[in-house]
Amino acid sequence: MSAAASMESEKLILGYPVKDIPWERLLLISAFVVLMIFYTFATENFLTLENFVNVVRRDAWLFFLAYAQTIVIVSAGFDLSQGSIMSVVSVMAWSAMLHFGFFFGFIIGLGIGLLCGVINGFFVGVVRVYPFIATLGMLFIGSGTAQLWTGGLQMGGAREGATLPKHVEEAYVFLAKGNLGPIPFTFIWILIVLATMWYLLKYTRFGTYVYALGGNEQTAISAGINYPAMKIAIFGIGGLLCGFAGLLLSASVSAAGEPRLGGGDQLLQSIGATIIGGTHIFGGRGGVLGTTLGVFLIIFLVNGLNIMGIDTYRQQIIVGLVILASIWVSTLREQKN
């Protein structure tokens, strides 16, 4: 009826029909640019290569956490347990490193992240609990286990008698702070994971199914996609990346097992970066490239505040408000359509 008429008059800009242009995204990006310019003029050290490298190196963990959240959200899921997976991995990997050396500790850390993710996936895909609730349970169990493991104390560092051997600790710190020639090691990690995730989502069956599950679950299932296996794989990858993020963060903080590592606003930041990066909250749309942008936005927002000498508490308020506002804006758009 009216569909034909409107179809012909539709023009494409940037590959979007005019009415579908993501104005709110453009707004966010321009807000980001304005913020950067503002910071540049307001502070001395903001727009320097050194600052850039330092920030990305220090906040590298957020990239992995946000990639994990992205793949889960794109498939119409949610992962609340990210922070506690980080904590568990941090303490357990530390213990493993103490006994088996760096390499095995590292592998065990990743394995534990994977295991937590797979358990999440099992509850979501097989038992069919809402992802929200399943991962909420994992949040409790994870953070409880982490604290139980260490008795609530930091492992290594401050406590005497149980520090990592020198070479192990050096390797661990190198993971987060080392350079490979002039390039920080973490950059390479980010690039590798970004490329892998991008490839996975764009060029493999698995990736297509992730989008299909998020876009229209019924269609996906009727096209023969194995729902439980997909959910386990998606949450598993999410858990693995969380594990890696946990290792990176604890390496860069103190190279110690930190049972409260993921107890802060890491979860909010990863969700925020994902949503700001254009991933649709109900799944089906988005990707890791957008998320990368979202992460940059958040870490530089925080960095600028840092340089301006604003304390962490106020930063927390601002980040919370920014994320809430950006989600509000995208919700308004949803309702308009």
Binding site: V129, S143, I271, Y313, I317, V319, L321
Partner: protein, 331 residues
């Protein structure tokens, strides 16, 4: 499709068969748990569990916890969730404390409760009217409130009340009548109000109908957005009252007073039998869940189980309760 055949047959009239397990099953479990702990006490594994002082203390804890559990129940009844309770509690308690210092007791308390109510309203508005997912709204609010609370206190503990103020606060928070804590009476009073609200008012009906089936409620003429808004508002008020009782019990507070308290309240709510789907559960379940959780945690402490193991126990409890309730629903 004969009508009569489809109607569920009521089992014979024996007590056990007629017992409503869904509603009161946890009460039975609670009593059994108490008995087990008592036996353990008799055997010498647990010290001082069934003992006047401990029971009084635990009842006091439970009656304080009850308020936020009740608030959480209200929110869960309309199939929402409130993750901001803990940090909102911190915020309102520091605002309350500072207010008491600056403007006097009555004004301070009102300011604190008002602050919690405001944030309840903002949560409710964003969920009910703007229709953002409750989880994201309250998660962001968690950090916003925590941040404000910490900015506000600057990391210090507020405790510089005058002697008179301290006396009044502790009279409210710590007085016992024959080993029954005074806060329990407040909680019971509040329980009765909330019970009447949910069971005997139009709003209560609207809450259950909205949670059970939002579209049907809307087509029955209920403004579901408003109902949700009010539920978050109630949750905010409950947080305000809890923060007052916390402050009254221990006339000091800091920006981390309610850290992660929302998880305890969630666990108590869900264990009590209020489901995430909405429309099922209520204040009674909240009360039972609160008692259960408080005494379970207390028993575990006395058994020598560490803080962190208890957190795991809470997680397992939560998952079990959720899986059980979703099983039940699928049948």
């Amino acid at each position: 499709m004969a009508n009569v055949a489809e109607a569920p047959a009521r089992p014979s009239a024996s007590f056990l068969a007629n017992f409503n397990y869904e509603k009161y099953g946890l009460l039975v479990v609670f009593i059994m748990m108490m008995i087990i702990f008592y036996i353990l006490q008799l055997m010498g594994y647990v010290n001082n569990f069934i003992e006047a002082h401990n029971l009084t203390n635990q009842l006091r804890n439970a009656s304080i916890l009850f308020f936020i559990v009740a608030g959480q129940s209200m929110v869960l009844l309309v199939s929402g969730i409130d993750l901001s309770q803990g940090s909102l509690l911190s915020l309102s308690s520091v605002v309350m404390a500072q207010g008491i210092l600056d403007f006097g007791l009555a004004v301070g308390v009102l300011m604190g409760i008002g602050m919690a109510t405001m944030f309840g309203f903002i949560n409710g508005y964003l969920v009910g009217r703007v229709k953002i997912q409750p989880f994201i709204v309250t998660l962001s609010m968690l950090f916003i409130c925590a941040g404000i609370a910490l900015v506000f206190t600057g990391g210090r503990t507020i405790h510089q009340f005058t002697g008179e103020q301290k006396d009044i606060l502790q009279a409210i928070g710590l007085t016992d009548f024959f080993h029954i804590p005074g806060t329990l009476f407040i909680a019971i009073f509040f329980f009765i109000i909330l019970y009447l609200l949910t069971k005997r008012t139009v709003l209560g009906r609207a809450i259950y109908l909205t949670g059970g089936n939002e579209e049907a409620a809307r087509l029955s003429g209920i403004d579901t957005g408003k109902v949700k808004l009010i539920c978050y508002l109630i949750s905010g008020i409950c947080v305000g009252i809890t923060s007052f009782l916390y402050l009254a019990r221990l006339p000091a507070t800091n920006g981390l007073a309610g850290f992660q308290l929302e998880f305890q309240s969630l666990a108590a709510t869900v264990v009590g039998g209020t489901t995430f789907h909405g429309g099922e559960g209520g204040v009674t379940q909240a009360a039972i869940g609160t008692l259960f959780l408080t005494f379970l945690l207390n028993g575990l402490i006395l058994l020598g189980v560490g803080t962190f193991a208890r957190e795991v126990v809470v997680g397992v409890l939560l998952i079990t309760a959720v899986v059980l309730s979703s099983r039940k629903r699928r049948e």
